[in-house]
Symmetry: C2
Subunit: 331 residues, 2 copies
Amino acid sequence: MRIALDAMGTDHAPAAEVAGAVAALADLDSDVQIILVGDRDAIQVELAKYPEIPEGRLRVEHASDRVTPHDPPALVIRRKPDSSIVVGLKLQKRGEAEAFVSAGNTGAVMAASLFTLRRLPGVVRPAIGALLPTALAPCLLVDAGANVDCKPTHLLQFAQLGNVYAKDIMRRENPRVALLNIGEEAEKGDDLSVESYRLLAADSGLNFVGNVEGREIIQGVCDVVVADGFVGNVLLKFYESVAEFVIGMLCKQTDIRIDGPELKQVFRVLDYSEYGGAPLLGVGGVSIICHGESSSKAIRNALGVAARAVATDMVSHIARELSTPTSEEGS
Amino acid sequence: MRIALDAMGTDHAPAAEVAGAVAALADLDSDVQIILVGDRDAIQVELAKYPEIPEGRLRVEHASDRVTPHDPPALVIRRKPDSSIVVGLKLQKRGEAEAFVSAGNTGAVMAASLFTLRRLPGVVRPAIGALLPTALAPCLLVDAGANVDCKPTHLLQFAQLGNVYAKDIMRRENPRVALLNIGEEAEKGDDLSVESYRLLAADSGLNFVGNVEGREIIQGVCDVVVADGFVGNVLLKFYESVAEFVIGMLCKQTDIRIDGPELKQVFRVLDYSEYGGAPLLGVGGVSIICHGESSSKAIRNALGVAARAVATDMVSHIARELSTPTSEEGS
């Protein structure tokens, strides 16, 4: 198995990427090779810090260009064909890698993944999954921001995509799938919610547990929560900020040291990097998107997720689950 | 000034209401009378605990019925005309009170307020404002859940409603109004966001500061944040739960006692009851909606907000600001 890693994506590229890749080798089977994609010289400088890397487990694929946070995502394929994002994804397209991981410009990774790996047949809109920490096990939010102005059939597919991911990657046996809404009853919410509820309840392949409100997600009542990407993205960003805010305020008001050992476990639960990146679900390959400020630990974990997606053949499972054509296909 | 208080709304009615009303008397001008609306006998039992109430500042208006959390909001006016909610609002309609405060069934308070107080001319959809704690001063979220499937003209009105509230009640001189979105640029977001941005930017009566994302709200970058009621309600409920969750987890993982003095200040900032209820904006009167689990402090503060809304003549200000007919009026 070969995983292409965009080595130029994080704010501390390529140091965080190389460190994450080296650390990941300890987690991954010995037949997994990580391909560091990016500026060869810069990567070699970092690699030189790790003289004990086993033979053949890391290799460098040179990419002379780099996507910045300001590059318009839709134009990256055309304007930056030599960027680490495009070069890395093309490895997968050509069959020279089975997965791609990047902490670069999220929109660009998404657009380039869609262009390069294509939608799977039957998938109307690929979606981003993001793991939300909860009081129990993390919950997958789909869509976390890839799509806005969604239709009920899209939300049904988000549920199906999340269902496969929860089984294959999160190891949940019969994932509880819920719809993010503003009330419990089937008839609550906006037009999109009411009709989506109907579709989700009618899908016998899903363990649909009904509507959940914001306050229930965090209690850990579901494994997958489905939402329009606008709502999902608002929720995700707010979630991140409010946890930081509460802890920051606590530390300011009390004697607790933010780096004290008492807080370590709390941060571990709230730390997104524990969970290893957000998958783009519904494309014909594995593409894992990480935060721009990812640490080496986040990269390491994202590589683990990518490896598991390949090992479990997640993409085939998604293709099989979503091959039923919907009436709105292509819309 | 007379404020009608639904004495039967909270989970601890009428004890919390009576205690809150008694406490509020100390804050309010001596010409303010609070009318406790509900079961006369139950209220008198509570009132007997406060023998020193000044003459004429509290009176009881008997209401023989009570709305439960399970009553369908739309049917309350017809089915429960003798409930404390309907009786209390009718006092305002008849000119026997200038404001109404209730911690009862939110949907019922809203529906009965709309029916009784009516929309102000020019207001298409009255909206609920809710105060979100931030790192700086609280920020008003409009709409916090009264309306779903909103149109851009609705969001423009939410901004105008929030603008008046921020000036009159929150004492912000030139309120910074922002649009909740998933990116900073004008063209970001769903169809609703893009068109709403255009309308907000074009309204010379607003200090529109552009889009804000979830993570920025909490930093205190705006005084009013505008959103569709679906998104707003998801955000509000999540906000409440995540703060509780983070603090709860902290207490579990550390030696901090949840009731310890260190946490008091943190809770004070995060405590919604500090801010005193959510106004229904755009109706022809003052209607303040509180949580069902409101404490006496929450009731006390809500009464203060109601009094300030009357004293500043907020409803007239709203009527004046929103009297420009929109092309979609009534839609």
